[in-house]
């Protein structure tokens, strides 16, 4: 179908019907003139069929037409050894000009005689990374990614110089995952920088990073990282298979990938964890998970993801285990508050007033005396106001954000109560709920619970406690049904795997976590040396040879 219309449509590419996304491959043709006519190929990917011609002029015509009206595309003519015409092609702003200058200089004064391109690259190009390409897909993709392409008269190969120099953000502390103790570096928008940060955490050749490209127009680079020998190879295959299936015009954030590879599209619960911290990613890989790096975003995806994982912060493992355990319990409690508190308040105050202690009931009754709305309406007003304030605070410029918080605290917190529109207990309930939802370490998990709060409020307003129970059962049933890359979402509590509860109910000391979580199908379960663990267990810590203190008993 595509080929039928091809000839008459050189200037009307925009009219391509969407099904053209599934393009047909034309056989690779040696006939250059035929290949170079195919300028209406919509995607770079399709340029794989077009080989580089030996005639420099033919290549230039093709490139000029391909990059017509691209003001940032530069073709720099020069001559190798003063006699051999060549062209350097690059995108202005994506290269490191000084480095490219040096490379070109080296080529210009080259005296190696007439050699072919690959020999030339080996002998005379002072660039750390060079590559030879034979077709336009690779050439154009590399040049668009910031490489410099060298086309030489009479060569069917182009040299790629990886002398990139695009401006990027420096490495900062990750804003969405601040810690008191722990590394303060966060990923940035550049894929290579991000993978290098991971590599610095795991200096092993077993850390594999498989490259993929997704997005017809964006051609976003993706790296799938995993620890060979730990990870279940089937999971890696599954991840790669799912990503390869993606057909979309552009991937601007890892959220696109997350939505397109998750198991259940319509679940409110995130089935993929993300993080902008290299240490979190490294820890996930050490547990046998797979990380997906996406170029252009600091957020790296982790699969498979289970529910409890979303309630664990990286700092849990950096601070003492007792404190981490207590904080985890606090989180679990606050999780219930974030999900249920407004619903419970509505249910108790409109159906089960006997459940209040008498004095509390009297206080609530006194506060509610002048309120014109039923408790549900009141709760909805406040919850919506709170969500609005939160959203306004996130979206607005920082200078205006302060005004929003003042308005919120003053108008909603105080004036509304004094005017008798909402009651003080409701303000307390809503603020408690808000605070509780912020203690969930993963923002996407917090969103799920914030959303589910509303249907529960409606249920509780209609059926009281019974409604809440039914709602919670439904949510629990849904969670038990969820899978993330084949792993049950509630693991290790879902299908109970009791040996893994030591990292869920509590955070056991490292000596007790010598084995990796077994609910993930992993190859190597041992994470700490048995001899060390035995040594630490018998001595309840490292005792060494025993250094005597001068004033110790029995030494006088």
């Amino acid at each position: 179908m595509y080929r039928r219309f091809r000839k008459g449509r050189k200037s009307s590419q925009a009219k391509n019907p969407p099904e053209e996304m599934r393009h047909e491959r034309t056989p690779v043709s040696d006939d250059m003139s035929e290949s170079l006519e195919n300028l209406n190929r919509p995607y770079v990917e399709q340029l794989g069929e077009v080989s580089i011609a030996s005639s420099l002029q033919q290549n230039l015509t093709f490139l000029n037409e391909l990059f017509a009206d691209c003001s940032d595309f530069v073709i720099r003519p020069f001559q190798i050894e003063t006699s051999r015409p060549a062209r350097a092609i690059f995108i202005d702003g994506l290269i490191n000009s000084a480095e490219v200058d040096r490379a070109l200089q080296a080529l210009m004064i080259d005296e190696g005689g007439m050699v072919d391109a690959s020999q030339l690259a080996e002998r005379s190009v002072p660039a750390a990374q060079t590559a030879m390409v034979e077709n336009y897909r690779e050439l154009v993709l590399a040049v668009l990614s910031g490489d410099t392409g060298i086309l030489i008269e009479g060569e069917r190969q182009a040299i790629l110089l990886s002398l990139r120099g695009a401006k990027m953000r420096s490495i900062n502390e990750p804003e969405s995952e601040a810690v008191v103790r722990g590394p303060r570096e966060g990923f940035i928008e550049n894929l290579r920088t991000n993978t290098s940060m991971l590599r610095r955490k795991l200096k092993t050749p077993r850390l594999k990073m498989q490259p993929l490209v997704v997005g017809k127009h964006s051609n976003t680079s993706i790296a799938i990282a995993y620890l060979e020998g730990v990870v279940d190879p089937a999971t890696v295959d599954e991840v790669i298979g799912r990503i390869k299936k993606i057909q979309i015009d552009g991937v601007l954030e890892s959220g696109y990938i997350e939505e397109l590879i998750q198991d259940s599209t319509y679940s409110p619960f995130p089935q993929v964890q993300y993080s902008e911290r290299p240490d979190t990613i490294a820890a996930a890989l050490l547990e046998g998970r797979v990380a997906i790096f996406v170029d252009g975003t600091p957020f790296v995806l982790i699969v498979p993801t289970t529910f409890w994982q979303l309630l664990q912060a990286n700092e849990d493992y950096y601070e003492r285990f007792q404190m981490a355990t207590l904080i985890r319990w606090l989180r679990y409690m606050l999780l219930f508050i974030a999900l249920l508190l407004p619903a419970l308040y509505i249910a108790i105050s409109t159906f089960h007033q006997t459940m209040f202690p008498t004095t509390l009931l009297l206080s609530v009754a006194a506060a509610r005396e002048t309120i014109p709305f039923p408790a549900v309406v009141e709760a909805f007003i406040m919850e919506v106001a709170f969500e609005a304030l939160r959203e306004a605070g996130v979206r607005l410029p920082k200078t205006v954000g302060q005004a929003v918080s003042i308005l919120g605290a003053l108008v909603v917190g105080q004036a509304a109560v004094q005017a008798g529109i909402v009651s003080a207990p409701m303000v307390i309930i809503v603020s408690l709920t808000g605070i509780a939802s912020f203690t969930i370490p993963r923002y996407n998990a917090a969103i799920a619970f914030r959303m589910l709060r509303f249907p529960l409020m409606i249920l509780s307003a209609m059926f009281g406690m019974y409604g809440i129970m039914v709602g919670v059962m439904l949510i629990l049933g849904h969670m038990a049904n969820l899978r993330s890359f084949g792993i049950p979402y509630l693991s290790p509590t879902g299908p109970l795997s009791s040996s893994d509860l030591k990292d869920v109910l509590i955070r056991a000391p490292w000596t007790e976590m010598a084995k990796r979580p077994s609910f993930l199908a992993i190859k190597d379960t041992r994470r700490a040396g048995a001899a060390m663990i035995e040594d630490l267990d018998t001595g309840l810590g490292q005792k060494g040879i025993g250094i005597k203190h001068p004033s110790e008993e029995g030494t006088s």
Partner: protein
């Protein structure tokens, strides 16, 4: 999803939505629409009808959104409504006709029964208490001196409602706590009679205002479900010993060797052993008590062992008098306030069933008691003598 499947799903959703909207909310009541009854009183009218008095909280007067208020400074934070009916529920429904809010008994914490009704027998009113699930069986019960109505209209100084005052007093460790469930149980059992707190309003003067506070007077003694008398003072303490339920108390002795002194009994234990004589029952009451000296009039040195031992003897006598007084009233009023029947029933269930339960009050009257008391003054206080004792006296 196919369009047919979508249609079915849509239909299911609509149906579900309809069931939810048409079935939910039937028992929904906002807090603003209930009249919270904190206490109610049952009295018997001369014509045989029942007077119901409800004390309801007025949340509007308790200072809500605007803060402050409440307490005794503002207008009253409660409202007392009373009505007469042939049954309790009839009176309630008459009351409801003039109330803008639904009577809500879920938070009734104190039930007051008037003296007259108690004398006639209070078993009937227990029916209405248990028949509605809203009523709490854990609420306290009080017998009022005179009309229960008067207890509810009293305006105590500390608490917002007299009900709260009564409850606080009842929950203090001065007296044995009883709730509705206990009383119902005692009424249904043979071998024990209820022993209920007996309370009366007393006038106090605050500036020019006359206030009514509520005071715990003693225990109401029952014969079956009928009030037969009130037991007070030392006899009331004696009942504690007989019931084997010790509550700390302060007693004041007027003794020959030491004059007046106040003793705090802070720890105690009593044991009752029944035995069978030829024609009557015999109870052995064994009492152990730990006391401290609170106040002494006159200059006595309790650092000396013989003084302490003598004092302990006096305390023993005081306890014995109390127990004897309690037993005396029990025999006179034909009321097993000490739950002695239960002692037999628990130890000798067969004997109790076959022999004693039929004619228990007569058996109780014949019963003899022996009391052995071992009290110990474990602490004499910070000083063993009066600080202001003149020094000269010590020298001669």
């Amino acid at each position: 999803m196919s369009t047919a499947g979508l249609k079915v799903l849509l239909l299911v959703l609509v149906l579900l939505g309809m069931t939810i909207t048409s079935s939910g909310c039937w028992d929904r009541t906002e807090i603003n629409d209930i009249a919270i009854v904190v206490s109610s009183a049952f009295d018997l009218e001369p014509d045989g009808r029942i007077r119901i008095t409800c004390q309801m909280a007025l949340p509007g007067q308790m200072g809500g959104s605007n803060g402050g208020g409440g307490g005794t400074s503002g207008p009253r934070s409660f409202y007392v409504d009373t009505e007469v009916g042939r049954t309790v529920r009839e009176a309630n429904s008459k009351q409801q006709a003039r109330l803008s809010r639904q009577l809500f008994f879920g938070h009734r914490r104190v039930l007051v029964i008037g003296e007259e009704l108690a004398k006639q027998g209070m078993r009937d009113v227990f029916d209405v208490i248990a028949r509605v699930p809203e009523n709490r069986l854990t609420s306290n019960i009080v017998i009022a001196k005179g009309k229960g109505y008067d207890l509810l209209t009293a305006q105590p100084n500390f608490e917002r409602f007299s009900a709260e005052t009564m409850r606080e007093i009842l929950q203090s460790d001065v007296l044995i706590q009883v709730n509705l469930k206990d009383v119902a149980q005692e009424l249904s059992q043979k071998g024990t009679d209820p022993l209920l707190p007996f309370m009366a309003p007393v006038e106090t003067v605050k500036g020019n205002e006359h206030n009514k506070e509520i005071e715990f007077k003693g225990y109401a003694q029952f014969h079956d479900d009928k009030l037969v008398g009130v037991i007070t003072k030392d006899a009331a303490k004696g009942v504690h010993w007989v019931r084997q339920k010790f509550q700390p108390y302060v007693t004041t002795l007027d003794t020959k060797p030491f004059g007046k002194l106040s003793i705090n009994l802070y720890k105690g234990k009593s044991k009752i052993k029944p035995s069978f004589e030829q024609d009557h029952l015999h109870f052995d009451i064994e009492v152990q008590a730990l006391c401290t000296i609170l106040e002494v009039f006159g200059e006595h040195d309790f650092g000396r062992t013989e003084n302490v031992q003598q004092l302990e003897g006096e305390i023993d006598n005081n306890i014995r008098d109390g127990i004897l007084a309690a037993i005396q009233t029990m025999k006179e009023r034909q009321s097993d306030s000490g739950a002695l029947g239960l002692v037999i029933a628990r130890r000798y269930p067969r004997l109790w069933k076959e022999k004693y339960s039929k004619n228990w009050y007569a058996e109780l009257e014949k019963a003899t008691f022996s009391i052995s008391i071992n009290s110990e003054v474990s602490r004499v206080g910070l000083v063993s003598e009066n600080l202001a004792k003149k020094e000269e006296e010590e020298t001669h």
